[in-house]
């Protein structure tokens, strides 16, 4: 198993990953609450970015409505906890089923009718918006007045009910990110991974090679949706309040796909690098504004926009592929 995992990965890459992991594991003991909260955000976006990347980066289906799955996952687990006191570890089952089902419905409808490309992207937005307005009127989860989770304590970590300190959430998010990374790594080396890439590159050719493209696209959507829903569960229990206006909003969908696009669509490390760069960039720009004494709201976002523009213009494949070459980590010869 381990040999299989490491197969084909350059040694330097493994070493770098281990160092990074060690730093991330030690972080709560080294840094204060602020940096920890930023690191949490980075991991959060790295995780959802990875989940989105399965659908877009691997299988080539552009989803611009991933906030749908975050929101469904968050609401499912939170509602079960608030109404019945059901632990999120059980509730996440419901999250996975509901989000996976939503993904399956969207995928089924779209792929059956040959909706793809821009049309598919806009269909995903439409479903997310549909959910946003629907949840605004969904009284069982308090509609637009928001669903609040009871906050009990911060001193003791109740892992079973996900009540506790930021460090607990940080480690949970770290574990999820690592798991998602390893899962994607394994997937890419498996039959389904090869098939996804083939579908992404040329659906016609893939089909001519015996690949049931409908089936494999469905796998990608359902898996991506289910994984994304878990991020929603963490979101709900971390922030302890949910508003449809916020969680299903299209700006959330955009936010969570910027990371993998900037980092490198279809690469394993891309979502990680992208989430790190974007969060650090946002925080760095805020600090820069403070340092130079600019206190006009909106200036930071303008600079942020220009940075995005620059990256997308000059690094069309994202930051990671050229960075990997720079670090000597690009794909090595796999065969003898």
């Amino acid at each position: 198993m381990i040999r299989h995992l490491l197969d084909g990965v350059p040694r330097r890459g493994i070493a770098l990953l281990l160092v990074l992991l060690a730093i991330l594991l030690a972080a709560p003991y080294l840094v204060g609450g602020y940096v920890l909260s930023v690191l949490f955000l980075i991991l959060y976006f790295a995780y959802v970015g990875q989940a989105w990347n399965i659908m877009m980066g691997f299988a080539g289906q552009l989803s611009l409505g991933h906030s749908l799955y975050v929101g469904l996952g968050a609401y499912a687990a939170a509602a079960l906890y608030v109404h019945f006191g059901i632990s999120p570890w059980i509730g996440l089952g419901a999250s996975i089923i509901i989000s996976g089902f939503a993904g399956a419905v969207i995928g089924f409808l779209a792929f059956r009718f040959g909706v793809s490309g821009v049309y598919f992207a806009i269909l995903t937005i439409a479903f997310a918006e549909f959910a946003r307005i629907g949840f605004d009127h969904f009284a069982w989860v308090s509609g637009s007045s928001g669903l609040f989770l009871p906050v009990e304590n911060y001193t003791e970590n109740d892992f079973w009910n996900l009540r506790g300190s930021p460090a607990m959430f940080y480690y949970l998010m770290l574990a999820m990110t690592v798991a998602a990374f390893l899962l994607c790594h394994l997937l890419l080396k498996s039959r389904v991974g090869y098939y996804w890439l083939a579908i992404r590159e040329s659906p016609e050719a893939a089909q001519a090679l015996g690949i049931n493209i409908f089936k494999y696209k469905m796998y990608a959507v359902v898996l991506s949706a289910a994984m994304t829903s878990l991020a929603g569960v963490v979101f709900a229990f971390y922030y302890n309040n949910l508003f449809p206006e916020q969680i299903f909003h299209i700006s959330r969908s955009i936010e969570l796909i910027l990371g993998p696009i900037i980092g490198g669509v279809g690469t394993l490390v891309g979502p990680l690098v992208g989430a790190f760069l974007l969060t650090a960039l946002a925080e760095g720009l805020r600090e820069l504004m403070l340092q130079i004494g600019v206190e006009v709201p909106g200036v930071k976002q303008v600079f942020y926009g220009f940075c995005l523009l620059w990256v997308v213009m000059f690094l069309p494949d994202g930051v990671w592929p050229p960075l990997a070459r720079l670090l000597g980590l690009h794909k090595t010869e796999r065969e003898d």
């Binding site: 990074l20 730093i23 972080a27 080294l30 840094v31 204060g32 609450g33 602020y34 940096v35 920890l36 909260s37 930023v38 690191l39 955000l41 307005i133 605004d136 009127h137 308090s142 509609g143 637009s144 007045s145 928001g146 609040f148 009871p150 906050v151 009990e152 911060y154 300190s165 930021p166 922030y239 302890n240 309040n241 508003f243 206006e245 916020q246 790190f276 760069l277 650090a280 960039l281 925080e283 760095g284 805020r286 600090e287 820069l288 403070l290 340092q291 004494g293 206190e295 709201p297 909106g298 930071k300 976002q301």
Partner: protein, 414 residues
């Protein structure tokens, strides 16, 4: 009141951060916790407001309240506050990490954040770090029902706003000698709007109101066009309109009322929008008449006059409103507690806030006190009316400076 160089102690680490995008930069960016909490002459207060993003308008308006605070506190003989600003960008992620950042930079007390979702996120940080947090505006009841020890709210909850609104309406109808018979209740379908809608029927049943609500209409906060809503309301034949709205929709609704040629005898608003400067400015003489039943200030109080003066100086032409008043009062609570505690120690500061008893304040009612949950339950709301581009307080009698005008002048006769 500048935040650009409030902390030279942290200057180096901040610069490291600004330059570093690398992991090392992030990790070195902040020392573990705030080890030194010196007995400073002034209190460091982190103010978190949504000054960009969707709520930028309100956030920036609240910020005007921050700007005029320093002078007023000085006149009241209270210690000065060192303000550190944080923009939440109308985003709960940013609200949380900004709160952490301000605490890491030495904030000893937090104030903010207008929105219920962002306030909840900040409240959790404050509670975890043991830093007192005074909410300026946020009406969702659950925030003070969580058993927090460090979170205080000097703003009424939705049921409180409703109770006072009905009481004030009865008072006004009595003075005016007339009252509407039927009403349509229209509310925006957002956090505040639904909180109000939920309490509406229950609270109303405790009063004997002269009017009957014939229809309830909820509409989308992002609505671009409200002609359907007004057409629907008009079709009920009701003679008055009860509103819970925001600014943009209040303007849109008024335009539609005029265009669809429907002049209710009264517009009774229980939320923002109808009294705001932009409403008055955009609609001119068509803005006259609506009454707002809102958390307001008592124009007869001494500090109110100071605040009005300070605002007129800093921002001529802008009327003092809820956003300024409650943001100011949150800072007033901070300065008062700091004076009594004599220390910035968060625990002692929180104890001092819990023992707050400010009678020399701005908002309507007996003053500022907090109950065991950290809620000021003594707050009273006012009724105000738009008159010629200005706002007058018309109820309760003890906090008013004008008589109500009812019925409202029809739109086509102006």
């Amino acid at each position: 009141m500048s935040n650009s160089n409030h902390s030279s102690r942290r200057g180096i680490s901040r610069r490291t951060f600004a330059t570093g995008v690398a992991a090392a930069g992030i990790i070195a960016g902040s020392a573990p916790f705030n080890i030194v909490r010196a007995q400073a002459k002034s209190l460091k207060v982190g103010v978190l407001l949504p000054r960009s993003g969707v709520q930028a308008g309100i956030g920036q308006d609240c910020h005007r309240g921050v700007e005029i605070t320093a002078g007023v506190l000085k006149e009241l003989g209270l210690p000065s506050l060192e303000i550190m600003n944080g923009d939440t960008e109308t985003n709960v992620d940013v609200a949380r990490s900004r709160a952490e950042r301000l605490i890491a930079d030495g904030a000893q007390l937090l104030v903010g954040a207008f929105d219920s979702g962002q306030s909840t996120a900040i409240a959790q940080v404050a509670e975890q770090r043991g830093i007192p947090y005074v909410i300026n505006i946020a009406a969702a009841p659950p925030i003070t029902e969580q058993g927090y020890k460090f979170v205080f709210r000097n703003f009424p909850t939705a049921p409180m706003i409703l109770t006072d609104a009905f009481a004030n309406q009865l008072e006004i109808f009595k003075i005016a000698g007339t009252a509407p018979k039927t009403a349509v209740f229209m509310h925006v379908n957002d956090t505040f709007g639904t909180a109000m809608q939920k309490g509406f029927t229950g609270v109303m049943s405790k009063f004997t109101m002269p009017y009957k609500v014939v229809e309830t209409i909820s509409y989308d906060p992002a609505a671009r066009d409200l002609s359907v809503e007004v057409a629907k309301a008009k079709a009920t034949g009701a003679d008055s309109l009860i509103m819970v709205s925001r600014l943009n929709d209040a303007i849109l609704l008024t335009r539609e009322l005029v265009k669809q040629r429907w002049s209710p005898t009264a517009v009774l608003s229980m939320g923002p929008g109808w009294y705001e400067d932009q409403y008055l400015k955009t609609l001119g003489k068509l803005s006259d008449g609506p009454m707002s039943f809102v958390p307001w200030y008592d124009p007869n109080k001494k500090v109110s006059k100071l605040l009005e003066k300070a605002l007129a100086k800093a921002h001529p032409g802008i009327n003092l409103n809820t956003n300024h008043v409650y943001t100011f009062e949150a800072l007033l609570v901070a300065a008062d507690a700091f004076k009594r505690a004599g220390t910035a120690d968060p625990q002692k500061l929180a104890d001092a806030i819990r023992a707050t008893n400010i009678t020399d304040n701005v908002s309507t009612g007996p003053g500022i006190q907090f109950n065991a949950k950290g809620q000021n339950d003594k707050l009273k709301n006012s009724a105000i009316q738009n008159r010629g581009g200005k706002l007058v307080a018309i109820a309760p009698a003890s906090a008013s400076n004008a008589k109500p005008e009812l019925p409202m002048k029809p739109y086509d006769k102006r």
